[in-house]
Structures are given as structure tokens and as C-alpha cells.
Symmetry: C2
């Protein structure tokens, strides 16, 4: 890449934030909806429809027109959906929760990325919300963060967890531990998707999750098959289980902490015990263009959620598992080239304790 | 563009904010500088050099490696500059003030773009700074905004104004009015670059600029050739001038206001009087990829500076000039394909009052 190409590429970086928000604003203002319902509206008509000044509508629509998302007819001065017309409203609506999460959970907080890296804390939550702690704690107190983040995460979980359970084997009658299982959703899914005679699933998480978790088990009618153990994964992992599940968790931590967790699981299992991991992964070739993992996750974890962490390559998790005394028996990585609109790939690692 | 291509393109939008800030953070932390001085540093060594955890350095560097800005040597675990090595430090340092302006003046404020469009005010300044007003007022009170914005603007002015004066003709002995001339820089430049016997230049701006403007004239030794008139361009433009200059101003306003300004100038001039305009312009073909104007300016003006405004095409300004009673005698637009690293093109319009 010569100097001119480098500057051209840097320009793409410079316009990243404004481009993101101009497009999202076209959705938020209702411009895209209005054009879906009534193609051909002029800036003046759109301004009236969405309660904005026509001058502002015209300014905002230049970019979607440049992209070919929206078409502009010079003769009539009317706008209509172009590429956006070829995408169903339902598909487009699936993208909006991600855009909203990036806006609410990331956009302002990113300003403090450098400070967050220096301090290992989420400076943005402190500056913007007066909140000291990580995002997972902040969502309990701040409705805007919770709604935006949870809507996106629920969607991720709804897609990822069934795929995870299809890809793992849980021997009949196993005693399963769902590590960092929060308020029991993973245990409930395990019971629902991997039912077998004698199967027992235990959610392991911080003691304060117990009441809500047990209430969820009762509400779902699985209370006799599911239980809760309170504790701290960094202190010790409960013994007496055949299978441990670790979903949506390892990517939150730096290397030393991930190894502490894997060593704890290894110590808690007998030889032959299994661990099954679901985690976002970076592509083995970091320059792979279909993955946007390294474009978003470092900032998401360092500046917006944990002040540390970030995904690794599948091969890195494999190595760390092996160093913790496991033999990896199966790995699966999603192929993003088959998943339009998806930003990042998840991976599954299945391993057996060998020593 | 089919649905898959549309989603792939939308992904570029989603990663815009995080990508911007990850790269800027590599500069802010000093990682790029450290690698320029000592190629081959590992994440551990870089972490020590810039006071950050090696895990975080590794996460942040994935993206510049993906881009080819930075190279990673798997065998040694060392990083070195790749494409960034082919760009002089001086050239790279010219980009940093723009990145910094986008961070300080835009990144957080963009969150409020939709609200700003709905209200026609800069909601972000109110929410983030408790400031009611536009950016040009806010920079007087807020040092962080002032330093970031002025550093970038000074750089723009230093490049644009000499180009403007090279491209316009000011007849010897003219009486020149620098409209919205702020604290006199344009008048000083006119005197310096367009000197002729009897040339008189008057800065026209709000009365509160007078003292600083006159002080600048004295300091630059041009007090006997330059003067100041206080007033409001939307109320009336002073008469008795041969040439009016309008630099860095028209893009701040919506269509009605731009026309009010041009009509005011037209009324103030005698037939044969000249106006010379310097303004950022959108390309005539809005889909022209070399221009990032529509990718950044709508958000810059609507959410971050004025709550209104934004550039137009050169042909639009030409039309508005003609409607205000001018004949356009010369237009010049910058060619961005010859300006690596530049985000936006400026244009010059020279016109003569005909009716």
C-alpha cells in the first residue's frame, strides 16, 4: 500500500463515526419507513412526514443516495428506496438492534478508549453515567443501556445457543454444570434441548443470582431437574459434574483470567470429564475481510463493557485448553461468508480432561 | 446491489465508530510512535513502553494489522510499521488533528444527531457540556473543544486561504469587505496577498469582535489600511464597497439563510460590484467516491456545530448567486483525487452584480 492508498484508507476511518450516525438517523427519524410506505416523497414532503426541516432531510439523504441504499430522481426531486427496497423490512429490522446497541453502548463511550486502556476500567461509564463498574453491572441500574444491550444480546443468544446445543454431545444422565450461567437460561435450554433420563443441570454463578434463577426454574417447570450453586469462578469451581458448559464468557477476560478459569474447570473435573465452550472468535487469518471481529470487539470490551478482554482465535483457545490439561475433540467455527449482516463469528470447542 | 451486498455494506457502517477509535487510540497511546522508533517490539514490550496491558495492546493492534498499516511477525511476536512506514511522520501528523477534531467535536455529539435534527439545535453540546448554543459559541467557553476545533480549522485555513487568494482578482485600489470576517485574519491576508495602492479592507462581523480585530490589525501593522464595521449580516450589509469576500461561511446555513445573505450582499453592491466566495462543496455527482463530503458534513453541521446548514454543490451556489442578481464569472473546485488524505473539496465562486 503506497502513501496515497494509505491516506485513502485513512479517510474511510475518519468518516466512520459520522457515516454510522447519519445512516442510523435516517432510520430513527422514520425516513426509511416513510419511503417504504410512499416512494417518491420529496425532501419537503419527507420533512413534513418526519417533523424535520427539508434542508436537514436533504443533507442526511445524500449519503444513502451515494451508497445506492436510496435513489434520488433529479427530475421529480423524489426519493425512493434503492438497495434497501431489495431487503425485506424484517431483515432490515434485525440490523437495527445492532445499530442501536453500537449507538447506546459504544458511540460516546469510545471517546474514552485510550483512558480505558490505560486504567483497565470503563472510563466512559463513569464520565457519562457517573457509574463505576463494568457494563454488566451498569445495565442493572441504567435502563437505556439495559434495553439497548439486552435487545441485541437476546437476539445473539436466540441464534447462537440453539446452534451450540446442536453441535455438542451431552451423554444421557449427565450431571451438567453451566459455568457463569447467570439466571438459568442455559440450564433451561440444556434441559429442553438435551433432555435425557437422569439429566441434572446446575447453574453456577454469583450468589446474588440464586433467587431469580430458582424462580426461572420454577416458572419453566424444570425445578426438579435444575439447581443453583453460588460461588466465584475465580476462587473455585464446584466438583461432582460430568460436563461443564462455558457460554458467552471467556471473551470477557484477559489471558491470565481465561487460564485461571480453564484451570479451575480442569481441577473440578475427573479425568474423562467434558467441557463445551461457546465464544466469539477471531478468524485464524486476522486479515480475513468477512470478519469484523477485530474492527469492533477490542473497542467493545476495552472501552464499553469490561476494560479488559476480547475474543481470541479458535486456535488460541485450543492451545489454552490443552495447557489446562484438556484434549480438544471438536471445534466448529461459523462461516461468516454464509451469514449476511452478521458482524462476528462464534466458535465451539469441545474438550475432554486427560490429565 | 443485492441483499447480501447490502448487508456487507451495512457492516462497514456498523464498525465505523469502533474502527475510528481503535486506530486513533493506537496513536494516542503512543503505539505508532514507539514502533516508528523501535520496530519489532512485542505486545509485552509495547505494553511497557506505553503503560498499557499487553493483552489490550494485542487487541488494539489486530485492526491495523488487518489493514496492513502495521505488520506482525508471527515467529518473533514483533510488530513493525507496514503501510505507515511508507508515510512520513510529518504527513501522518497532518492527519492527527483531523482525527482529534472528529473525536472531540463529533464522536459523542453524534449520539444526538436525530434529536439535533428534530430541534434544529446542538443537543450534544447541551447534554455533554450543559451549553446552549452552537459550536462557534461553545469554543469560547470550552478549552477542549476550542483547541481541537481551532487546530484543525487553522490547518484548513492555512491551506485554503492562499489557494483562494491565488484564484481571485481584486482590482487595484479596491474597497474590500470581508463578510463575517471574524477577528480580521481575512483582511490581513487580503492586504498581504493582494496589496495595491489605495487598497482598503474592512472586516464586517458582530460588534463584539471589534476590539480583538483592531488589536490584530495593529499587531500586524496594517491598521492604516484595515478597518472594522460591526453589524449583523442578516440585517444589513454595509454599502460602499467594490468587492465582497465570503469565506468559510455559507456552508453554515440552510438555503433560506444563504439566500438572505446573498441578497443582502447584492443590495449592498453597485452594479459591477464583485463577490468572491470560498466554501466547501459537494461533488456534482454525489456518488463520486473520492469525496467524503456527504459522509461527514451533514453530521458535522447538524449534530456538532450549527444544528442546520451543510455544503451544497458548486452548481447550487451558482444558481443561488444568479437568483440574487449576480453573473458568475469564474468557478474553481478542488480535485480530491490529487489531494491524498483530504476529506472534502473546497470551491471558489467569483461573480459580478448585474441587476
Amino acid at each position: 500500500m503506497n502513501a496515497v492508498a494509505t491516506f485513502t484508507r485513512l479517510r474511510e476511518y475518519m468518516v466512520g463515526p459520522s457515516r454510522f450516525m447519519i445512516l442510523l438517523s435516517c432510520f430513527e427519524l422514520g425516513i426509511v419507513d416513510a419511503l417504504r410506505k410512499r416512494p417518491g416523497l420529496t425532501a419537503a414532503q419527507l420533512g413534513e412526514a418526519v417533523s424535520a426541516k427539508p434542508d436537514a432531510v436533504e443533507q442526511l439523504l445524500h449519503l444513502p443516495v451515494k451508497e445506492g441504499f436510496v435513489a434520488f430522481d433529479k427530475a421529480s426531486g423524489g426519493y425512493s428506496l434503492d438497495a434497501f427496497a431489495g431487503v425485506s423490512d424484517a431483515d432490515l429490522q434485525r440490523v437495527l438492534p445492532v445499530l442501536n446497541m453500537i449507538k447506546v453502548v459504544m458511540l460516546r463511550q469510545l471517546f474514552y478508549l485510550t483512558d480505558s486502556v490505560r486504567t483497565g476500567s470503563i472510563v466512559g461509564l463513569d464520565k457519562l453515567y457517573g457509574f463505576e463498574g463494568n457494563l454488566y453491572e451498569a445495565v442493572a441500574e441504567h435502563k437505556d443501556l439495559r434495553e439497548s444491550w439486552a435487545t441485541m444480546m437476546d437476539d445473539v443468544t436466540a441464534h447462537m445457543d440453539p446452534w451450540f446445543f446442536r453441535n455438542i454431545h451431552i451423554p444421557p444422565g449427565s450431571r451438567v454444570l453451566d459455568l457463569a450461567g447467570n439466571t438459568g437460561l442455559g440450564a433451561i435450554l440444556t434441559h429442553r434441548l438435551k433432555a435425557s433420563p437422569g439429566l441434572r443441570v446446575t447453574t453456577f454463578d454469583l450468589p446474588e443470582k440464586e433467587a431469580e434463577c430458582l424462580e426461572n426454574f420454577r416458572a419453566e417447570g424444570v425445578a426438579e431437574h435444575c439447581s443453583f450453586i453460588g460461588g466465584d469462578v475465580f476462587k473455585s469451581v464446584p466438583k461432582g459434574f460430568d460436563v461443564v458448559l462455558i457460554k458467552h464468557f471467556l471473551d470477557m477476560f484477559d489471558k491470565d483470567d481465561v487460564r485461571t478459569i480453564l484451570n479451575g474447570v480442569s481441577e473440578a473435573l475427573d479425568v474423562g470429564g467434558k467441557v463445551n465452550i461457546l465464544v466469539p472468535v477471531y478468524p485464524e487469518d486476522i486479515t480475513e475481510p468477512s470478519s469484523a471481529g477485530v474492527d469492533i470487539f477490542p473497542a467493545y470490551f476495552l472501552a464499553c463493557t469490561m476494560g479488559q478482554g476480547g475474543p481470541q482465535k479458535l486456535s488460541t483457545y485450543r492451545k489454552w485448553l490443552e495447557e489446562a490439561g484438556f484434549r480438544v475433540t471438536r471445534t466448529v467455527a461459523q462461516d461468516l461468508t454464509t451469514m449476511p449482516g452478521a458482524l462476528i463469528a462464534h466458535g465451539i470447542l469441545c474438550a475432554t480432561k486427560v490429565a
